[in-house]
Structure formats: structure tokens, C-alpha cells
Amino acid sequence: MSDEFEYQHQVEELAEKSATAARLFDVRRLIGGLFVVYGIIVTIAGITASEADLKKAQNININLWTGLAMLIVGVLFLVWMWLRPATAPEPAPEPPPGPARPGDETV
């Protein structure tokens, strides 16, 4: 049955060489950063909103509220990342002693 499960070996080997876990940046930095910037831009638009803007949005200062909410979301993501940084996995984890690897037990 070695042939049947050859592709699983391939995937395992590639997974060991894979660099994603170690080298891919944290998505929380991306969301947090963009939302903080957007939050600031939109909040300023809210502070400087004109009468026409307010009237159009049914007298809700929607820019102000959206901007502040985005700012909070952005900061929360950055705080989350700071409190619980992603742990890079061990360089080469030892295969667990228990279960055998596919194909090992048969020829």
C-alpha cells in the first residue's frame, strides 16, 4: 500500500519544509494597522462634518461614530497581538512516539 499513500508522504515532507508558519506576518497587525488609520481619517471627517453631511445621514454623525468604532476595533486587534503574540512553532518537531507514520508498518 506504499503507492496508495505516497501523496501523504509528499504532503508531510512539504509541510516540514514549509515556511508559512515561521515567516508569515501576523494578520492582526494588518487589520489593526489599517483600521487605526481608517479610523483616524473617518473620525476627522466626522469632527469636520458639514450640515449637509449630517442632514444626508439622517442627523447621525455617521462618520464620527464609524471612525471611532473602527479606531477601537483597530486598537483591540493591536492589543490582542501584543498580549498574545503568535508563537512560532518549534523548528523541527520530533515525531510523536505513539502512532506510526503512514506506510511505515507495511511494505
Partner: protein
């Protein structure tokens, strides 16, 4: 695809454009930043199977939350009313939970890299090649349709010529996927998910204030369209008439079972997100985590559709010159001041690009691994397939752009194609589910079940329904019935063929059929996965119960 009406031009200014340009810059930056993480083909196609569950889960929702889906479901809201919630609560949640709890152990545990690859190991080359080719062709064509739809919307809203929109969006998608592979597609999807929320939540709040809150909205609609319009099940008794053209049985069986299970459990553009998770538990949790946001999306998509119907009572009629698809753009134009307007435009464009990127990133995986690597150039070193994946990405996007240009002259053909491909997923699901639970199902049965189910659905839709042999009140209703036909015919043919052909030896099915395990597959649970809130069963059943509860306010 419908043309958007004239007069939808948004009053955008420099502020809105800076928000939009910033987004495009970030998207490209993600591609460059993700590039250094791509060392192997597994990194490129499946992010090295290493992402955390919340990231893959949000990408799972976002891959489906393309702009066509957003505009289309708002349009359904304006056209069919509250019935549209069936696409979410019956038509998505149960299938997502089933994928996570029942099917994911087979997909992820067998270490296949794509949905068609599972067919190769469970059945054999014939069904594998058939589904790989159809999936590849469909992905490229759908990416093109997406691009074309975006060009129309952008032309109407911002005044860009269609070819500019097609080239710009196509180029950005090509660049960031070629650079960073699935990781940059997924990261951009997660980002798009939050941006689209930031766009649609303010739109819904302002819109609701305009029509006097939910109470005011409901009163206006019941006065103009009758009480059933704001109820989920009113008027769906068998034989009674409703705008959807479907009764509760075809809704539950056709939409809730055949169509939705077909789409959510076998569409590789979705399943790929789960296969990139870091372990089996995270892969199982991917669609389950996705189910919770999915449940509440109607609040910010269907509700704006209803609001648009109150504000523009003639929407969708010849006289008004507006289409149902214009519902969200109309509200954006009338209600959002500059700033939030820029966010909304950005969210919409982001959703178009993410929808297309999901098609492209699943296409390059299937084409490279399941067609090129499996039948044309076997056994090359991994670098070769990594490079092939990048080239295929570029070719796929260019073909999609070509399709978009063709679509602008033959838009009816594109509608047909989309309907046609939607029928392919249902027999595919039938073949999967029988293959996963019945050891006796044979290789030939897989191929003939797939083919006969697809053909049967097409005959039912294009001949019986469109030629008027049987009478079904609406296209949606006919879709639901065709899906049921595809499932039943595919299943019957599979059972029939299996009984007369030789089954695969049981040893070769380890890990692919219920009750067997792949040798050495049992991996140790990762630290922290035993926490109660990470238990797949709890998340799954929680989602089902919550979706059922969502129906309560709309059923009394």
C-alpha cells in the same frame, strides 16, 4: 448580468478616493510581505497547512461574501422579502456544520490538497479528471463574470470606463496571488470581511433611521406588499402562491439540502480555506466559526434591500429604470456622506476582488496539482510545481479578463453558464456523501453518478422548465427542483452502477470512508484545543440551534 441604471453616480471626493487608494496599496503590500513565506508548493497552494482557525474561518465567510453575493442578496431582499433569509439559515448553516463535523475529518485527515484529489483516491482517475476539468473551466469563467459585473458597477458608481476597471482589478488580483499565493488571498479576505462590515453596518443604521426603525420598515412593507412579505414561512404551503415560487418542501430539500450542501461542502474555493488550517481541529472549526458571522449577515445585506424597497417603491420595475441589484448602491448614494461613502466603495471593490481571488487561488491549485501534475508532467521537483502554480495564476487571471471582455458583448451566455455550473456541485456532493459512507461504491459509479446527475439537472432546467413541460412559477423555484433531480438521479445511478461493477479493495480506502482511519493519521491534539469553546461538536450544534432561533421572530 443586469446593467445598472444611469444616475447612480456617487458624489465621491478626494477623501473617498484616498481611502480607496490606501486599500489598493495595502492589498499589494500584503502580497509582497507574504512572498517571503512561500518556500514550497504547499505554502503557495495551502499556506503550508499552518493557519489558525479564526483566520481560516473568517476567510471562509469572506470567500463567499463577494460583491455579487452582497448585491444579489440585497436584490433578493427587495424582490422576495424576508424569504431571503432561507439562503442563510436553512441554505448555509446546516451545510457548514455538516462540513465541519462530518466531512472535514476525511478531507483534512486524508491529507488531500484539493476536493478533486479526494475523488482520485476514493474513486479513480476518470471522476477525478472530469471534476478537475469542470472545476477549472468554471472557476475561470466565473472569475470573468465577477470581473465584468464589477466593471459595470464601477462604471455606474465612479464613472470609470469598463476596461479600466477590468484591467486594474485583474492586475491587482494577479499580482498579490502570484506573489503570496493562498496566504495573501486569505489575509486579504479577512481584511475585506472587516472592511465590508465597516461599510454595511453604518449604511443599515442610517437606512433604518430613515424608515423609522425595524417597526416602521415592517409596517410600510406590510401595507404595500402584504403580511407574508415580512415573514419567513408565510405563504410557503404546498400549492399556495408566493413570490419565491417555492414551497416549504422545495425550500428545505432543494435549497437547504441539495443546493447548499453541494455548494458549501464540495466547492473547493470554500473547502480550500479549511484545508489551509494548522491541524484537524482547526480545519473542523473553520466552517463552524464561519457559521456564526454568516448567520447575522442578512441583518446588513437583506435589511438594506428591504429599506431600498421602501425608499424607492418602484425599484426593479421597467418604469423606474432601476434594477433590484441597485438596492445597495442607491442607499449609498442617498444616505452616506463622504468618508463613510469612501469606505463603502472600498468595501464593495474589496469584495469583488476577494470573490475573484477565491476563484483564482482555488483554480491554480486544482489545475497545477490535479491536471498538470497528475496527468501531464508527473514527478517533477517541488520547485517546478511552485513555478507552474505562479504561471497558472497569471494565465487564469488573463483568461478571466478575456472572459470579462467577451461577457460585455454576450451577457446572456454568461447567465446561462452560471446556471449550468451551479448544477455541477449537487451531483458532486451526492458522489462524495455516498463515497464517504458506502465502501461498496465503485470507481465507475463515481464517474457515472457525477455525469448523469449533472445532465439530469440540465435537462430538467433547460428543457422541462424553460420549454414549459412542467410548470414551476419562478427561476429560483426551478433551481431548487433541478437540484433535487440532480441529487436523486446521481444517487440512483451510483447505486445501480456499483451493484454491477467491482469495488475498490478495502485497504486502499483507509481514511477515505466512514469507519476507517488513515494509517498513522491520528495526530496528537494541539495544546489548548481541549478548551470547551474549541470543541467542534459544541460549536456546530450551537450554530444550528442559534440559526433555528433566528427564525422565531420571523415565523410568529
Amino acid at each position: 448580468m443586469h446593467y445598472l441604471a444611469e444616475g447612480l453616480r456617487l458624489p465621491t471626493n478626494a477623501l473617498d478616493y484616498s481611502i480607496l487608494i490606501l486599500y489598493f496599496a495595502v492589498v499589494l503590500g500584503v502580497g509582497f510581505a507574504a512572498r517571503r513565506s512561500v518556500q514550497t508548493s504547499l505554502d503557495f497552494f495551502l499556506s503550508g497547512r499552518s493557519l489558525p482557525a479564526w483566520v481560516t474561518g473568517l476567510a471562509f465567510v469572506a470567500a463567499n461574501l463577494g460583491a455579487l453575493e452582497i448585491l444579489g442578496m440585497a436584490a433578493n431582499g427587495a424582490q422576495y422579502g424576508v424569504y431571503t433569509v432561507h439562503w442563510y439559515w436553512v441554505g448555509a448553516i446546516p451545510a457548514m456544520v455538516f462540513l465541519g463535523l462530518v466531512m472535514m475529518p476525511f478531507y483534512y485527515g486524508s491529507k488531500v490538497r484539493s476536493v478533486p484529489e479526494f475523488l482520485l483516491h476514493r474513486y479513480g482517475p476518470s471522476s477525478h479528471l472530469l471534476s478537475s476539468v469542470i472545476f477549472s473551466v468554471a472557476s475561470v469563467l466565473i472569475a470573468g463574470v465577477n470581473l465584468y459585473a464589477m466593471a459595470i458597477v464601477v462604471e455606474a458608481l465612479l464613472g470609470w470606463p469598463q476596461w479600466v476597471a477590468i484591467v486594474v482589478a485583474g492586475f491587482f488580483v494577479l499580482a498579490y496571488i502570484t506573489l503570496g499565493g493562498l496566504s495573501s488571498a486569505i489575509y486579504n479576505e479577512v481584511l475585506q470581511f472587516f472592511v465590508i462590515l465597516a461599510a454595511l453596518i453604518p449604511l443599515t443604521i442610517v437606512g433604518l433611521k430613515r424608515v423609522g426603525g425595524w417597526g416602521g420598515l415592517k409596517d410600510s412593507l406590510e401595507t404595500s406588499h402584504g403580511a407574508d412579505f415580512t415573514s419567513a414561512w408565510g405563504g410557503t404551503g404546498i400549492g399556495s402562491d408566493n413570490p419565491l415560487g417555492a414551497n416549504w418542501l422545495t425550500i428545505v430539500l432543494g435549497l437547504g439540502f441539495c443546493l447548499s450542501f453541494g455548494y458549501w461542502t464540495t466547492n473547493f474555493a470554500e473547502v480550500q480555506r479549511a484545508l489551509s488550517a494548522k491541524n484537524l481541529s482547526a480545519a473542523q472549526r473553520t466552517p463552524l466559526i464561519a457559521a456564526f458571522p454568516k448567520m447575522f449577515i442578512p441583518l446588513i445585506v437583506v435589511v438594506p434591500g428591504l429599506i431600498a424597497l421602501v425608499l424607492e417603491p418602484g425599484i426593479g420595475t421597467e418604469k423606474s429604470g432601476t434594477q433590484y441589484n441597485d438596492a445597495i448602491p442607491l442607499l449609498m448614494r442617498d444616505l452616506l456622506p463622504n468618508g463613510v461613502l469612501g469606505l463603502a466603495v472600498t468595501g464593495l471593490l474589496a469584495a469583488f476582488m476577494a470573490g475573484m481571488a477565491a476563484n483564482v487561488s482555488s483554480f491554480n491549485t486544482v489545475f497545477t496539482n490535479d491536471i498538470w501534475g497528475a496527468y501531464i508532467r508527473k514527478g517533477r521537483p517541488d520547485e517546478y510545481y511552485l513555478l507552474t502554480g505562479r504561471v497558472v495564476t497569471a494565465v487564469g487571471v488573463l483568461c478571466g479578463m478575456g472572459t470579462a471582455f467577451i461577457a460585455s458583448s454576450f451577457s446572456n451566455i454568461m447567465n446561462y453558464l452560471q446556471t449550468l455550473f451551479s448544477f455541477f456541485n449537487v451531483p458532486l456532493f451526492c458522489v462524495f456523501i455516498i463515497g464517504m459512507f458506502w465502501k461498496r461504491a465503485t470507481a465507475a459509479a463515481g464517474f457515472w453518478g457525477l455525469l448523469s446527475g449533472t445532465v439530469a439537472a440540465m435537462i430538467n432546467y433547460f428543457w422541462f422548465y424553460q420549454e414549459g413541460v412542467i410548470s414551476i412559477p419562478s427561476d429560483q423555484g426551478a433551481n431548487f427542483v433541478s437540484a433535487i433531480v440532480a441529487f436523486v438521479v446521481g444517487g440512483v445511478v451510483m447505486v445501480g452502477v456499483s451493484l454491477f461493477t467491482q469495488p475498490k479493495p478495502v485497504e486502499s480506502l483507509a481514511g477515505l470512508v466512514y469507519g476507517t482511519t488513515s494509517p498513522g493519521m491520528a495526530e496528537p491534539p494541539a495544546a489548548g484545543d481541549e478548551a470547551w469553546y474549541r470543541k467542534p461538536a459544541l460549536l456546530g450544534w450551537g450554530a444550528i440551534i442559534l440559526a433555528a432561533l433566528c427564525y422565531v421572530p420571523f415565523s410568529l
